[in-house]
Amino acid sequence: MEFLNILQTLCDEYGISGNESAVASRIIEMIEDYVDEYRVDNMGNVIAFKKGAKTPAKKIMIDAHMDEVGMIVTGFASDGRLCFTTVGGVDARVVLGRQVVVGENRIPGVIGTKAVHMQSEEERKTAAPVDKLYIDIGCSTKEEAMALVDPGDEVCFPAGFGTFGNGYLKGKAIDDRFGCAVMVDLIRSELPCDCWFSFSVQEEVGCRGAAGSAYSIAPDYAIALESTTAADLAGVSEPKTVCCLGKGAVVGFMDKGTIYPKELYRLCHEIGREQNIPVQGKTMVAGGNNAGVIHKTAGGIKTIAISAPCRYLHSPFCVVKESDLLAVRDLTRALLAKLAE
C-alpha cells in the first residue's frame, strides 16, 4: 500500500475526539499483519509494538493522534434543526456555508444562515457566532430529526482528500491522520530497531489520550508526529510564517507546550544535513502537540516533535506538501536508527 493511499484512507475516515473507533479499525486493518502485538487500551488508544533489526538499550515510542476537529450534536429545535457545538479548536469562520456529515449513518446536512440580502451591514461584517448556528438535514419537526440523529452524534466536515497544485495535498483531518499514516507506513516496513507506537485519542480536546499511552508504554524516548501551523501566506512577513511548505520536516526548539531537549533538537537537524533530508526550524514559539503531555508523563520522557508544515489547520481543508510528509517519515526512521545506536 502506497503512502498516499494510506493517507487518503485515513483522512477520509470520520472520527472526532472521543469517537475515534472507525479510524482505529482502519489502522488496525492496515497494521495487524505487520506488528508483533497490539491492543486497544481503556481510552481507545491503539498501542502497537514491532520488533526491528536490533533491540535498543532505551525504549522508544512514536505517537500520532487519530482524532480530528469537528462538531457534536447537542440537541434539537422544534422545527427540526440540529443544535451543535464545536469539538477542538475549529475556527468559527470556517463552519458557515458548508455541508457536513452527521452521525454513523453519515447523514448529509448543511450549516447556513439567513441570506446575505437580509443581513444588516453590521451582520455582513461580523463572523456568525457558532452558538447561533445550526445544522439543517431537511427535517421539519423535532420528532423527525430525533428519529434520525441522537444527541452526541459526531458532525464532520465531508471527506475530500485529493492532490492539489504542484505536489500539494488537501483535505480534512490531515491533522493528524498524516502522523498516523507515517506510523502505519513505518510499521509496514522493516524497522531499524524495536519500536512502540501510540495511535492516540483526544488530542484536539487537550492531549488526553497520549497521557495514557505514554504512561503504559513508559518509553525512554518519544517522538510526536504532528502537523503544525504554516503561515507562509500572501503578505505575511518571514518571522510570522512559523514554517513553510516545501522546506521539509519541522523540528522546533520550543512551543507552547514543550521545551524540547537540545540533544534531540540538534540531532534531528544534524541528521537532516547528513542524510539530505530537508528539516526546518520554527520562526515563532507557537502551537503545541502531544509532546506537551508525553514529556512530563510519569518521571519524564525525552520527547521531540517532528511535524509537517500545514496551512489552514483545523479547517475543512488542510493543505500540505507531499515532499514535506515524506521528509517527516524519512527523518523519523533515521532518528530511530540513531537512537538505537
Binding site: P108, G112, G165, K170
Partner: protein
C-alpha cells in the same frame, strides 16, 4: 428525466455571470427535448422557441436566469495566491476555507486561505475578511499559474449535490437553476398539447450582476406577457417570518406594483381551484429579479413573478424542496393552457 436529475445536471454545470457557457450548454441540451429552435444570443442567454400558435397569436415568455454568483480573478500575488472580486452578491462571511475552481484555460482547483490563530488575535477573529483581502491557494507558483489563469477568469464554489430529508436537496446554484428546472417541468407537462399562445423560453445571462440578459432578450423577443421564475427566501430560524415564504408550501406568487395585477389574480385563481399549493410574496416595489427588467423591455411587457422558496441563498449549500419546483412548473402549465392573452 426526473426533476431531481435535471436539477443535478444544471447545478453541476458552471456559469458565473457573464461566462455562462457550460450552464448554457446543459440548459440548451435539455431544451432540445422540446424544440429544435434553440439558440444562444449575443448576450449569452439561451432562447428556445417552443411553440408557434400561428400568426397573430400572443406570445408568452418564460424566463429563469442561468448565471450563478461567483468571483472573478483580479490579481496573482508574487507568492502565487489569487486575489478576487465578487461577481454577484457573495456572502463573504463563509468564504474562508471554501473549495473553489478557477476557470482559466483549464480548471484549477483552489482553497480560500485562512490566517492561523497567531495572526488573528482578539477581535480580528470575529471580523469578516474583506473580499479583496482573501487569497486563494492553488498549490502553484505565480509562474505556473500564469500558464492557465488570468485576471477576468471566473471562480466558482465547489459543492456536492446531496439529498436531504423530506425531498429536499442541497447544492450551489439552485438560484436559479431551480427556476430553470421548473420551466423544463412546464414544458414536459405541455408536451404534445395544443396551446392558445406561442411560447418562448429564455434562460438568461447576467441576472446576478444586474439583469442585463433578461433586459436584452425581452427586448429582442418583445412578448405580450412574461413569467419570470426565480428563487426567494424560505424561512430560516434567524430570519423575519413576515419576509419569508415556507419551504414545501408551493410557488410564491409575486405581488408588487411593478408586476401585472391581472396575471397575479389569474395565477392565484388557478392555484386555488386546481389544488396546487401556493403562497403570496408581496414586495413594495422592484422585486430584485428579472421581472424588473422584462416588464419595462421594449414597449413594456405584462409580467408575473413566481418563486421557488429557497434557504441559504447565495451560499454553496442552498436548499430547496423538489416538490416546490414541480408545483411552480405545474402552475405555469395550467396558466398557459388557459391563456387568453
Amino acid at each position: 428525466m426526473t426533476t431531481l436529475e435535471i436539477l443535478r445536471r444544471l447545478c453541476d454545470a458552471d456559469g458565473v455571470s457573464g461566462e455562462e457557457g457550460s450552464a448554457c450548454e446543459a440548459a440548451a441540451e435539455l431544451l432540445r427535448a422540446y424544440t429544435d429552435d434553440v439558440t444562444v444570443d449575443p448576450f449569452g442567454s439561451v432562447i428556445a422557441n417552443v411553440y408557434d400558435a400561428g400568426e397573430g397569436a400572443p406570445r408568452l415568455l418564460l424566463d429563469a436566469h442561468i448565471d450563478q454568483i461567483g468571483m472573478i480573478v483580479t490579481h496573482i500575488t508574487e507568492e502565487g495566491f489569487i486575489r478576487v472580486a465578487p461577481c454577484g452578491g457573495v456572502d463573504r462571511r463563509l468564504l474562508l476555507a471554501q473549495e473553489v475552481v478557477i476557470h482559466g484555460t483549464r480548471p484549477v482547483p483552489g482553497i480560500v486561505g485562512t490566517k492561523p490563530p497567531h495572526l488573528t488575535s482578539g477581535d480580528e477573529a470575529k471580523k469578516v475578511v474583506d473580499i479583496e483581502d482573501i487569497a486563494i491557494d492553488t498549490g502553484y507558483t505565480k509562474e505556473e499559474l500564469l500558464q492557465w489563469v488570468a485576471p477576468g477568469d471566473r471562480v466558482t464554489y465547489v459543492s456536492s449535490f446531496a439529498q436531504l430529508e423530506n425531498g429536499r436537496i442541497t447544492s450551489r446554484s439552485l438560484d436559479d437553476r431551480a427556476g430553470a428546472a421548473s420551466i423544463l417541468h412546464t414544458l414536459e407537462l405541455l408536451k404534445g398539447k395544443k396551446l392558445p399562445c406561442s411560447l418562448t423560453v429564455v434562460f438568461s445571462s447576467q441576472e446576478e450582476t444586474g439583469g442585463m440578459g433578461a433586459a436584452t432578450t425581452a427586448f429582442r423577443i418583445h412578448p405580450d406577457a412574461a413569467i419570470a421564475v426565480d428563487v426567494s427566501f424560505a424561512l430560516t430560524a434567524d430570519a423575519d417570518e413576515v419576509k419569508c415564504g415556507k419551504m414545501g408550501e408551493g410557488p410564491m406568487i409575486g405581488s408588487s406594483p411593478i408586476l401585472n395585477r391581472g396575471m397575479f389574480d389569474e395565477l392565484l385563481d388557478i392555484a386555488k381551484t386546481s389544488g396546487i399549493p401556493w403562497q403570496v410574496e408581496v414586495m413594495g416595489g422592484r422585486t430584485s429579479t428579472n421581472a424588473d427588467h422584462i416588464s419595462v423591455a421594449a414597449g413594456g411587457v405584462r409580467t408575473a413573478l413566481l418563486s421557488v422558496p429557497l434557504r441559504y441563498m447565495h451560499t454553496p449549500v442552498e436548499v430547496i424542496q423538489v416538490s416546490d419546483v414541480d408545483a411552480v412548473g405545474e402552475l405555469m402549465a395550467k396558466y398557459i393552457l388557459q391563456y387568453e392573452g
